[in-house]
Symmetry: C2
Subunit: 161 residues, 2 copies
């Protein structure tokens, strides 16, 4: 075990946290929130949060999206899994393992709450104005591609044989 | 936050742990270990272990596989992400979020160490004798399918145009 304890001022963390994020594309637009808290305070990102003890990834995702945006979503598939590690000298300030899911809209009307200061559904061509962090932009574009591929597949299916 | 603290005898956990596992298929056989420790002591499973603070998923995977089997591997792609939550009454005894990667062999000769009591490369048709836990079997079969699909793709590519 790497033992950061005792070498740092910040409270020692003994294991990574697990985060989940939702890429919800509904009627051709992606759901974004503007964060009201650190980290990334004031930035537009995909909604999400931390997995608590005893809850599955998908349960955490549904809970967090409902808390932040008022929407009920259904996780469909994993888009990406990645690490976010922030160091301060020798110690680790912050270590997240993040699992982002493509989601479907189930119900609800968007309203910002919890860590979200604002909520918006954003068309792909308007993304530049929202200045997403690099990884968030990557995952959103991946989401748009998956939804489009799926739509093309369905259209092909309907063309008949 | 769900707060299991104070309601249980076992040491309280305040967040899930993150585990990584390797599906290494090399020369048509998958790498398995027999665990020498709980949980799953005595059972055959895919090798892997826990992500430590400050290390990426892929770094953890390479380290764990080298510790348990003596082999150097390269992670290729995520095969699956899943939860393993064990409860005891109201409290959570054990909560893992596990990311399994398809891996490639880089170097080394297999020898068991750390949590592994035995190491084996196992052909798909011999899997029944190893009685893998359900999720491990599922991920191993998924790995064999991915490797086969890739091999077929390469063969098609070589057929020329």
């Amino acid at each position: 075990m790497s033992e950061p304890r005792g070498r740092e001022a910040a409270p020692a963390i003994d294991r990574p946290s697990v985060g989940v994020g939702a890429v919800l594309i509904h009627e051709g637009k992606v759901l974004l929130i503007r964060r009201g808290k650190e980290p990334l305070r004031g930035r537009w990102v995909v909604p999400g949060g931390t997995v608590e003890v005893g809850e599955t990834l998908e349960e955490a995702l549904v809970r967090e999206i409902q808390e932040e945006t008022g929407l009920v979503v259904r996780p469909i598939e994993v888009v990406t899994v990645f690490d976010r590690i922030e160091r301060e000298g020798d110690s680790v300030r912050y270590h997240y393992v993040i699992v982002d899911y493509l989601c479907r809209y189930v119900s609800g009307t968007p309203r910002a709450a919890s860590d979200a200061e604002e909520v918006a559904f954003v068309a792909c061509e308007d993304l530049p104005r929202y200045a997403l962090p690099e990884k968030a932009l990557e995952v959103v574009l991946d989401g748009f591609r998956r939804v489009q591929r799926e739509a093309e597949g369905l259209a092909k299916g309907r063309e008949g044989e």
